[in-house]
Amino acid sequence: MDKVIVADNLSLSYSKDETIINKVSFSIDSGSFVFITGASGSGKSTLLKSLYGALKPQEGSLVVAGVELKGVTKSKLNLLRKHTGIVFQDYKLVKEWTIEKNIMLPLIISGYDKTVQQNQVDTLLKHVRLKHQAGKYPQELSGGEQQRVAMARALSHNPVLILADEPTGNLDDYSSQLIWNLLEGANTDLKSTVIVVTHHIPESMGVDYKHFHIEYGSIHEVA
């Protein structure tokens, strides 16, 4: 099976003095569903950031969808990100844009025509049960609703890789379930590789998944 992520002796840090992830090696198969767990401050989010190039490897190599992220150029990184859907813990929605336009963002960046953008947004708004909120601004929605918008945005361009950073943290059961269903759907229907950083793996997962645990700067697969 093709590998979508290959890390070899990867070290990550925000400063020279403190290494968060220390010389880890792992790989993730294309089309798989992966959970990354670990205690607070263990480096889960740091590792996820490195997967979309927000943090460059300090040492070793990290290849995501065929792109070596050590010393990657801006144009290559943009190309990788165009095929990646990211869900952030703090949603990262553009405040001055409507819900509809926020969901459209990856489609605008990829240059889809307006009809495609509108059709895709309409479909996704139905999936996340927010059709009636399309013209509203993010600050007019609850946290759960904002995360559903962020989820719809991450899926809008049918990405090959979906990265989610604690997507259900602090969400109500209804919104959490909706988000897990969407992530599973993306994995099974779109064949996207899904990597979720979380504290808790939901008990009833409808797909096979792999589980990596981060501890003391190293990562290991949980059987």
Binding site: Y14, K49, Y52, A54, L55, K74, S75, L77, N78, L79, L80, R81, K82, H83, T84, I86, K92, L93, V94, K95, E96, W97, L105, P106, I108, I109, S110
Partner: protein, 270 residues
């Protein structure tokens, strides 16, 4: 309302800089027109023992527009009583020649001095009357007026630049978040900063159109016309093509510079 607030702060800052620029241009034009007016009424008188070669003198001195020989008849007429025609002819021959020098522009005191020195180099020239006392006073008054207006325009410019740099910080805060989010989804810099440049362009256009309306009104005002007439000058207060072009150009330059500084200083969130 929110959209208006987004535009208002930069539009006001740009308007004040355009206002000070156009005020300076109007004052500069008025002073130049007034100087032209003065130069028509101002002339030097040269007294010479011999007839001067007018063409030679005009070619030698760039400031001289024309040289006119003054007829001594008026003076002689006053002495006419009891003097024979033969003696009057002799008197005419023995009198020095008086020339009026008409200048191309209203000269500075230095230009008057240099011209006087240069004319006196000709040994036949006995005297050059410059009427310096009245000339110097008028010139210094004009210079003072222009300096005061320049300082005023410069001060407004500085205050506006400070306003714009404050605006820069507000824009940075407002736009950085959106630019970062767009960057996280692979938007190239030109796309993530397009909104910023569009806003800068629109604000520059709004400020220029406002300034255009204000100065078109000022230019058509009867009161302004009367004031200019009172000092005997005709000035183009506002040229709708050239002046609007200058204002739009400056407004675009400043707002684009502001947007560029934000884009350059933008760092991707980690």
């Amino acid at each position: 309302m929110k959209s208006l607030r987004n535009h208002l702060s930069l539009v006001v800052a740009l308007l004040s800089i355009l206002f000070s620029l156009q005020t300076f241009i109007i004052v500069d034009r008025s002073i130049n027109a007034y100087k032209d007016n003065l130069s028509n009424n101002y002339s030097l008188v040269v007294v010479s023992q011999k007839i001067l070669n007018a063409n030679f003198i005009i070619n030698q001195h760039k400031l001289i527009k024309n040289i006119v020989l003054l007829s001594p008849d008026k003076v002689i007429k006053k002495l006419n009583h009891g003097i024979s025609k033969k003696n009057i002819d002799l008197l005419k021959l023995s009198l020095p020649k008086f020339y009026k020098l008409i200048l191309l522009q209203y000269p500075s005191p230095d230009e008057v001095n240099n011209l006087t020195k240069s004319l006196l180099r000709d040994t036949s020239v006995i005297k050059v009357e410059t009427f310096s006392k009245s000339h110097d006073t008028t010139y210094k008054l004009l210079l003072l007026f222009k300096t005061v207006i320049s300082v005023f325009a410069f001060s407004v410019g500085i205050v506006t630049i400070l306003l714009i740099s404050k605006e820069l910080k507000i824009w940075q805060f407002k736009h950085t978040e959106r630019m970062s989010i767009m960057g996280l989804f692979g938007a190239p810099t030109w796309l993530s900063s397009a909104v910023l440049f569009r806003l800068a362009f629109v604000d520059a256009l709004i400020a220029s159109v406002f300034a255009f309306v204000i100065f078109s009104y000022v230019a058509s005002s009867v009161w302004v016309e009367e004031q200019l007439e009172n000092i005997g000058i005709t000035v183009v207060v506002f040229d709708p093509i050239m002046d609007f072009g200058i204002m739009l150009g400056l407004a675009l330059l400043l707002s684009t510079l502001l947007a560029t500084l934000i884009v350059i200083s933008h760092k991707e969130e980690v």
